[in-house]
Symmetry: C2
Subunit: 222 residues, 2 copies
């Protein structure tokens, strides 16, 4: 129908939270001109019979082995002419989140081609994936401040200290414990469970869960 202009692709930045750290799913990119174990985010071409989001979810499955239900939203379309050394490729990047304990053992484990890596200290990534990561981290900050997005990063049950730690990671600030608890509890996002942590070498902590995983504006949270 028209002259061929650009290949259309997608990349996905999938985040999770575990052990007081933000993690992102990476793949190994060892194609020319990238060698020696360079990392990037899973992605691939968009097929004629799928929209960009469907392609993103498929790539997560095929390239990163992730099948679980997840939160996914479009981040940005990266279209710089030289962003891919192989040719003109425009990539619609997606951001996704999944609670660590929703993942199967196979999804949690690191493999040769794909692994969970801490967001801090990823180093130089392939293509323009560092730029994508910066976009994603800014986006996470904005959403963490104004929505209940963290329901897609926290495990099913968590303590307020763990939740606070997740906010602190994403917002890159230190929060006051008492003010944080007052604020988050009065927002009515959380349900108090009839359970506490056990087996720790300190005082047991009250467990909570999110009321809803529908991500909506929830006031100015933090």
């Amino acid at each position: 129908m028209e002259l061929h202009h650009a290949i259309l692709a997608t990349d996905v930045l999938l985040f999770t939270f575990r052990a007081s750290q933000l993690w992102v799913r990476t793949i190994t990119v060892d194609r020319p001109p990238y060698f020696v174990n360079m990392k990037g985010f899973p992605g691939g071409l968009i097929k004629p019979d799928e929209n960009a989001e469907a392609a993103a979810i498929r790539c997560l499955r095929e390239k990163a082995g992730i099948l679980s239900k997840l939160f996914i939203e479009q981040l940005y379309a990266f279209s710089e002419i030289d962003r891919d050394p192989r040719g003109r490729v425009v990539s619609v990047a997606y951001l996704a989140c999944v609670p660590w304990d929703d993942l199967s053992e196979l999804e949690q484990v690191d493999q040769d081609a794909t692994a969970w890596r801490r967001v801090n200290g990823l180093g130089k990534l392939a293509y323009d994936h560092n730029e994508m990561l910066n976009f994603a981290l800014e986006w996470l900050k904005a959403k963490a401040k104004s929505t209940n997005l963290l329901s897609w990063l926290m495990p099913k049950e968590f303590t307020l200290t763990e939740l606070q730690s997740c906010y602190e990671q994403i917002l890159e600030v230190k929060l006051d414990k008492r003010n944080f608890r007052k604020k988050i509890l009065q927002l009515d996002l959380l349900k108090l469970l009839a359970k506490k942590t056990a087996g720790m070498k300190n005082r047991p902590a009250q467990l909570y869960q999110f009321n809803s995983k529908k991500v909506t504006f929830s006031g100015n949270l933090i």
Copy 2:
């Protein structure tokens, strides 16, 4: 290099503010299957030697006759399979803003193929352009609340009543005059000019201008 998958295009929603109303630049789409004066937003294919934003600016020039310097930011990539009846076209939509009095007479005037139309009451548009408009209006709301974006919609000199009216249009709320003035003045975004309106049939109004047109977070404005 690869199988042909999708054509890559861009569309631009260019807004301005005049006579207490939000306006958007439209074009006439009378190609099959759209006839009888259907409206849409200016757009076109992305060329091999330009990124999406450059293509958007070029399309504004070629299809809508707009050459002035403007604020432009990516909105969303629309990729539904059937969004264009002519074939598989993915469109990276951009939102742009320009102050009415930056426009030349030729840019202000309506022509056969392209015109300024009030945002309210546009009716059914071609393709998925109604969806684009909804995205853009939500985006405008969010930015109006947290940045000095309106520096790209207001004329060089304006009264506080005009500025309030622009906020009210975009946010779709009615604001209290005294609270609005208190808030906006204490934010230090505006410069008081040594001028007042004249020739009106009522009391002259103080004129202001924006200190800066660099769009940045400016507190929770309104």
